[in-house]
């Protein structure tokens, strides 16, 4: 089935490293993230400090990483100065956590233009250093994170001990302070009802599998993140190898299930599901976040398996990003109620997919 494209182009948007859609296994592995938890000597941890000390930390860190500016993350943003909508946009671009956005204490973030590095200041730890690399690229992401960490160590006195490694506010991060996550799109495993089996298998080897969107265990749009749980007693290289191996297997599993879903009697049900999703996005006038994510997931699956042509993954990625509440409101430059957003979302997705608005 091919889709006619209208001549006028949908709004273009810069996609961060997150949604580049390039690199090994990019059809399933969307993005790799390295996160390092770091704290400073001589201060209480962020969760146990008053506003004055929190402000001191922000000033101290910003002075040290701002002069001269870090080449990896030259743009310092004071999150107190940004308004709520801009903070939401940063959350939706995965640069800061929802907790940091909503926190009352003084806090900041340093980012680069490509959105491949984000250093959160005063999250649960004084610094949460994040490096993003599109697709499944654990080694490349780690090398960049390690180099950045070295640079930070030259500028900041990190708290550490020979025995416990890097000292963190929560004992679950102690040691390497390293959380390596790979965001994966697993519609095959979800549709074939094998996702639970995959999740359980991963947990047995101390990996966590969580939904990427939505609260708690609900995984909207079949997007998941796989990450290491253990941070202490294993060297970084071991953690990298464990996660890369497990994600490699999950990717392989997803591929096999996708093939099975397009064979024999299963095929027509799979095609029906993909085309119904497309029908919804082409015609719906009211579209909730959840429905949008689920339909876009089906479209993404359809594109990667060759069921749908005339569409590009970039369109889906843009829709995934721009249909979130913060981006929707920034796009329209006005505050919208949830109902208004659902109408806007339906319109925007039709536009991005090249349908008659």
């Amino acid at each position: 089935v091919s889709k006619k494209r209208r001549d006028d182009k949908p709004p273009q948007v810069v996609l961060g490293e997150w949604l580049q859609g390039k690199g090994p296994e990019a059809d399933i592995a969307i993005c790799t993230r390295v996160r390092l938890a770091r704290n400073l000597q001589g201060f209480a941890f962020s969760t146990r400090m008053g506003d004055q000390e929190a402000a001191e930390i922000v000033k101290f860190v910003c002075d040290r990483i701002g002069k001269p500016a870090l080449t990896e993350a030259p743009n310092l943003l004071d999150l107190d100065v940004l308004d709520e909508l801009d903070r939401t946009v940063l959350v939706e671009r995965h640069l800061i956590s929802r907790e940091l956005a909503g926190s009352k204490r003084p806090r900041a973030v340093a980012v680069d233009a490509a959105e491949s590095v984000a250093i959160m200041v005063n999250e649960e730890d004084h610094l949460r250093v994040q490096v993003f690399q599109s697709s499944l690229q654990t080694e490349a992401a780690w090398r960049r994170a390690e180099a950045l960490d070295e640079e930070l160590m030259r500028r900041l006195p990190f708290a550490w001990s020979e025995e416990f490694g890097f000292l963190t506010s929560c004992p679950t991060n102690t040691g390497t302070g390293l959380r390596l996550s790979v965001m994966v799109h697993l519609p095959g495993l979800v549709w074939a009802e094998e996702i639970e089996k995959a999740t359980n298998t991963a947990q047995k080897i101390h990996l966590a599998v969580r939904g990427l969107y939505g609260e708690g265990s609900r995984a909207l749009g079949d997007f998941y993140q796989v990450s290491n749980q253990v941070t202490l007693g294993r060297a970084e290289t071991q953690i990298l190898a464990d996660v890369a191996l497990a994600v490699g297997r999950i990717v392989q599993w997803e591929r096999e299930v996708r093939e099975a879903l397009l064979r024999g009697t299963a095929r027509i049900r799979t095609l029906d599901r993909i085309h119904r999703a497309l029908g919804t996005l082409e015609r719906a006038q009211i579209l909730s976040s959840e429905e949008a994510l689920n339909c876009l997931s089906a479209i993404r699956f359809g594109i990667h398996t060759g069921v749908l042509d005339g569409f590009e993954v970039a369109q889906v990625n843009q829709a995934l990003l721009l249909s979130q509440p913060g981006h929707l409101q920034r796009h329209t430059k006005e505050r919208l109620t949830a109902d208004d957003r659902d109408v806007r979302r339906a319109h925007l997705v039709r536009e991005l997919l090249g349908c008659d608005p």
Partner: protein
């Protein structure tokens, strides 16, 4: 002698002036008791509270003949976190908590990570670039801080505490 405008009995020792646009628009004379009742001034405390002392000393626990509450013996000398706080929140308060709660922490780490010692990189070479601290100067500062607290010279103590922290963070060189 001016009597308190509120109770009309005791001599007024506190004057409250309402200021507006740079000029005095109203005035009240109060005695200490009435001012306290109105919440205008705080009752002067004869004894410094253990929390303030703890904060001032910021980690000089176990030295000198201070009367210390039981909680202070087990609390973290760096941030005052108690073992109970740690148990409830599951979060540590500062880097020094790792030593203070080592006993509770090691079995917890063992449960969570199936290991209790670090393997992996440490600051090493890069950390050497951070200004190092002369331990003698630190000890001297700590002694002076303790002395200031004992003699109830709190302003001086607070300044010494800040100096100590700065040095520990590597912001300035230790001064003799």
């Amino acid at each position: 002698m001016q009597f308190c405008t509120a109770c009309q009995k005791a001599p007024a020792t506190i004057v409250i002036m309402d200021l507006s646009g740079g000029s005095v628009t109203g005035q009240q004379q109060l005695c200490a008791a009435c001012a306290e009742n109105m919440g205008i001034v705080q009752k002067p405390t004869s004894k410094i509270s253990p929390e303030i002392l703890e904060d001032l000393l910021g980690g000089l626990k176990g030295k000198g003949p201070r009367e210390s509450a039981k909680r202070r013996e087990t609390a973290c000398p760096g941030c005052g976190l108690t073992p109970q706080d740690f148990k409830i929140k599951g979060r540590l308060g500062c880097p020094r908590c790792y030593e203070a709660f080592r006993g509770e922490l090691v079995p917890l780490l063992q449960r969570v990570h199936e290991a209790a010692t670090h393997r992996g990189r440490l600051p090493g070479r890069a950390a050497a670039a951070v200004p190092t601290v002369d331990p003698d100067n630190l000890a001297d500062l700590r002694r002076r801080l303790e002395d200031a607290v004992r003699k109830e010279r709190y302003e001086e103590a607070a300044k010494l505490r800040d100096d100590l922290r700065k040095i520990e963070r590597g912001e300035t060189e230790a001064r003799p």
